[in-house]
Symmetry: C3
Subunit: 354 residues, 3 copies
């Protein structure tokens, strides 16, 4: 179950170069590479002749020659050579997919080309600001459905239990969660006032006493999450809209659904502290790795359990409002896309809840 | 095809302690652990919220807290806490399963609780007698259906061919097999009179000349086997009922059906020789390991072959009486259990054929 | 999709000896071994009793005793012993398959025995001639359907692109391919006149200047290929029928379909140069290995891609005449075999195109 009319992340910019790179997104195999003008292109990774993936072939300039019989395709997907014959059959083409690079991230549009609006590509102003430090993290591979991974990213309630040493602690276990939606963004958030700082901010916040801390989970449909979390000295009695005055971190997750049981989560963070301090970046990465591997263990165990026969329906709780709204909206959009021509493209550049 | 109203073996007593232990029996995932009062409990290993196995969570005293969002269940399966809300939905529970520990073995009842009669739990007096030495062996994991494994344990005819160096030899190849049933126990047996001792008793019997030897295979429905085998000097002309006067060993097999293609066979033996001689125990284990791995190779090859398309029906022979009766009785009980409310529980404490 | 009334290759002669060897051909498990009179036999590898593969048993002279309960079968597949009973049920037999050894290759007939005509077994006179050197190569295992592998062997057009350093080069990319059929043999060929020698003949031909070179791909239904390739000095202006006057090599491929996704390609070559020079044989093997592993990579990638859902039909090109004719003929023969009693056996001894 995938929304097609949306920008998905195909990879970090530095994953693409001269080589022919096979990438699978929404079960669609693609061959991707960087042209001589530095633009990344994406073609269907399947020669229409004998089905060999074109990524097994080679580049002839900016074109791709199939490794089996030499059929050659240009970047528009048109066949420009069939060895052994002069005419090119009309069915000799491969599909192409719009690609845009932004903030060192390569986005790809998997649906109808006419709807591929670049203004819908995810962005946030902190990517290009002197006051913020952007640090590319890593790619986490999960044997899990992307919907379960995404739900985890609009779910502040799991933090106390899954990440007790890094991102959460017992103080937040019973604090209620607020949920709101605006356009194609869901946000679930909560504040924990006057509590001990969590492991992450013990290490990076330099706090002596208790803090006020927040978690805002933004989920941009279909599968990009921004987790705005931070802490400020309780003495400051920080207003919700003044989060920039605390130590504030945006942890971004770009989920790429590979297939129904495999998801890649590319993560990075943007912070207003320790600007240009790469040692701090490395320490934060280490902490994120601990936390995200905790999620991975949970999500893969759930994926396995979901494969077993189920005798009872799962139950829904008060804390599930974010995940429930998310899944319903995905389902509605997929139904629109697959039944009528009303499927508006999905996406949103940024959204900060005040 | 499983009988549910029966006691199965979940493990040796020493497999259970404080830790949350995931165990799968009859395809049912369970979380099992030992409470502070030393009793072992078994809960459905699936949180009803997001399906995370509870074995991925942690103990809070004798309760189990889910590792994802902290829902907490007591040993009766009732949910006693839902973080983030005060009320507990009526569907927030996990199933529980009766567990009884006896002779250092943990038994579990997989069917209707009202029928879980402890008197049906397998036992035999030799477990608690000065004249007998009980030695816990090991657990053999087989990629095979438990029915094929159980049939192997009511089948004296295979011993000559599968275990020629340990438990059988050519002298028994053509000796007929007797079969009898009593309640929920089948027994198949044969005597080989005045023959060379088999490898096992060459090593442990101290015989100089020929022996009379016996094999009694008891199969307690659904899946516990007792193999009573031994030898006595031929000169004694031993009566069938006087087997205690020979060197006599009970090899017990507790089969746990994990799923249709995976079975765990926990084995131990009880003997009337070399009492308290742990060196002899180790040597016997070594010989049993050879023999049981011979069975494993056969049974796994059959399981593979059964997965291929079959063009002809298998044939049945005179030696198959035990296996044939066994499978028919399992099929009948399963049908009773799944079609009417007449499914009497299955089990039997012990049965020695005279 | 397999033709059954045909001789397939079960292995090299030296793969069979005293041991019971499990071999799977057309999804049929076989136990094969060499009798005391040196003849190789093939029985169904499945005891009709409990389905244990007979290859898990042992030989009693030229007979095979099942490793589970000792049922014993002779080389005609008849059961000659059932331990524990005197009568042998009529259903106690295993199927047998005609086997013939020729040119150090073991052939097996997988269809109706009455049609197993030895005159149809593949042969060519160069196997037994002083002017030719026969060198047994190796067995290449491919996770691919044999039809795709066979098509690759009646397809001269792929050589320029898949084997640019060994068997092809750019000079042949656009040279047209001729295709002809004669009985159960297809042949696709082309000549490249006055071109640089390919890697193989640079190494083994000793040519100084340009050459005329040829590729004749003979595909004997269902799955034996002979690739006749060679080179001669362009100055000779060699006639097509005079290929023996050049440096000429026959690369033979005996494809054994194991199942729909697994094929074994046993290859050897016969040459009219470097007679008895085993160092040259080893060097040629090394080059063939490079080339055939290039094919393997292509064919396995195609097999994977064919498993994915397909939204468009593959296209066919001018160069596909050989493969297209081949697959149509296989399909026609299979349909004949499976619908009426008109299925003539398939095969042909040899065929050299002049």
């Amino acid at each position: 179950m995938y929304i097609k009319n949306a920008w998905y992340v195909a990879g970090w910019a530095n994953e693409f170069g001269e080589a022919l790179n096979r990438v699978v997104i929404l079960e669609q195999p693609l061959v991707m590479y960087r042209k001589s003008d530095d633009k990344v292109v994406a073609l269907e990774d399947r020669c229409p002749h004998r089905l060999l993936p074109l990524s097994k072939g080679k580049r002839i300039g900016d074109d791709v020659q199939c490794g089996y019989h030499g059929m050659t395709f240009n970047c528009e997907g048109a066949c420009i050579r069939v060895p052994g014959q002069d005419n090119v059959p009309s069915s000799a083409y491969v599909c192409t997919f719009p690609v845009v690079e932004k903030n060192n991230i390569v986005f790809i549009w998997m649906g109808e080309k006419s709807k591929a609006d670049e203004k819908l590509i995810f962005d946030m102003p902190e990517f290009n600001s002197n006051l913020w430090h952007v640090h590319q993290g890593d790619a986490l591979h999960l044997k899990a459905n992307y919907l379960n991974v995404a739900e985890n990213l609009v779910d502040p309630a799991h933090v106390s239990f899954v990440h007790p040493t890094t991102l959460g602690n017992a103080a937040s276990e019973n604090v209620p969660v607020h949920v709101d939606t605006q356009g194609d963004v869901l946000v679930a958030w909560r504040w924990i006032r006057d509590a001990e700082p969590v492991g992450f901010f013990q290490k990076f916040g330099g706090f002596e006493g208790n803090v006020d801390r927040w978690h805002y989970y933004y989920l941009h449909l279909p599968s990009i999450a921004v987790i705005d979390f931070g802490s400020a000295d309780t003495q400051l009695n920080l207003d919700e809209a003044d989060r920039d005055k605390g130590v504030r971190i945006f942890a971004l997750h770009f989920l790429t659904p590979v297939n129904e049981h495999y998801t890649i989560d590319r993560w990075l963070h943007i912070r207003n502290t320790a600007i240009d301090d790469e040692a701090a970046s490395a320490q934060m990465d280490a902490m994120f790795r601990i936390a995200f591997n905790e999620d991975k263990e949970i999500l893969e165990a759930i994926d396995e359990q979901e494969h077993l026969p189920q005798t009872r329906k799962p139950i829904r709780l008060a804390i599930d409002k974010g995940p429930t709204v998310y899944r319903r909206r995905i389902r509605d959009r997929v139904e629109l896309e697959t039944t009528e021509d009303l499927g508006e493209p999905v996406g949103s550049t940024f959204f900060h809840h005040e």
